[in-house]
Amino acid sequence: MSCTPQTAMVGDELPHLSFGPITRSTLALYAGASGDHNPIHIDSDYATKIGLDDVIVHGMLSMAQFGRLVSNWAGTANLINLSSRFTAMTPVGATLTCQGTITERFTKDAALLLRVRLSASIEDGTETLKGSALIRVP
């Protein structure tokens, strides 16, 4: 009963996407793949020195899951905007669950558009990212 961009109405949900557990290896690989070498994500000695319990997950690795969720549902070429706020730190070892909910379906300049509210949370229920996407219905 999962919806498509053509059939989606306000309130409908995209298929959930799960990512993790996010290990130290994943963070090391993401640092290399993204060019974000901030030691707060890969060096636990550094993390504890600046007062954290351990390394934390790159915000952009979590946002990449929003990208996967919406682009594989609607097609990358139909994505007009993707936005995210990083609302809580994600600890190493966490598993993310990403959800998308249709909040608007409207026409602008003869194009049919969908706005999707995005949310990522970890096992204890903490919401780590709040986002949105604007999609063109092909």
């Binding site: 793949a33 707060i40 946002m63 990449a64 996967r68 682009s71 070429a77």
Partner: protein, 162 residues
């Protein structure tokens, strides 16, 4: 008072050339757990009608970061954005990231990146200061591909964490 260097408000970098490398794109797609082969398999990408490996949406941030790294390597008074605004790496957090997409982008694309320091703001009674940064990724034929908007938060008081 904050520690960001606010004198750079309005600064626009020179265009920095970046080539989207196929191997780097595949490595990124595999690392983020991408399952759609158009993002990591050249034959699948071509079969889907794309000229080369299709970049995942948030790869825009990587292109922007590569421009930053390139600027620092080139010298000539160029520097990374975080150095330009005098970010203290121990206390910076990523607050917000947004992409306006005008065209898809692919392995092999040779693009230019310009970075603009849009301004600074203070929140939570000065416990947090925010730098607002924009990056434009342009292609010589396809024009503006992506515009990135980014908030970098400087946490002056750890108790003010969001």
């Amino acid at each position: 008072m904050g520690v960001f260097n606010r004198n750079v408000t309005g600064h626009v970098s020179v265009p920095i050339a970046v080539t989207l490398e196929r191997g780097a794109l595949i490595f990124f797609a595999e690392t983020i757990g991408e399952t759609n082969p158009v993002h990591f398999d050249i034959l699948s990408a071509r079969a889907a009608g794309y000229p080369d490996i299709l970049a995942p949406p948030t790869y825009a941030a990587v292109v922007g970061s590569q421009a930053d790294h390139a600027a620092r390597r080139q010298g000539h008074g160029l520097t990374s954005t975080l150095d330009l605004i005098n970010a203290d790496y121990r206390h910076v957090l990523h607050g917000m990231e947004s992409y306006d997409y005008h065209s898809s982008f692919f392995a092999g694309d040779q693009v230019t990146v310009t970075t603009e320091i849009k301004g600074f703001s203070d929140v939570k009674g000065g416990k947090l200061e925010i730098a607002h940064i924009s990056q434009k990724i342009k292609h010589p034929e396809r024009g503006l591909l992506v515009e990135i908007s980014r908030d970098i938060i400087h946490q002056l008081d750890r108790s003010a964490l969001p």
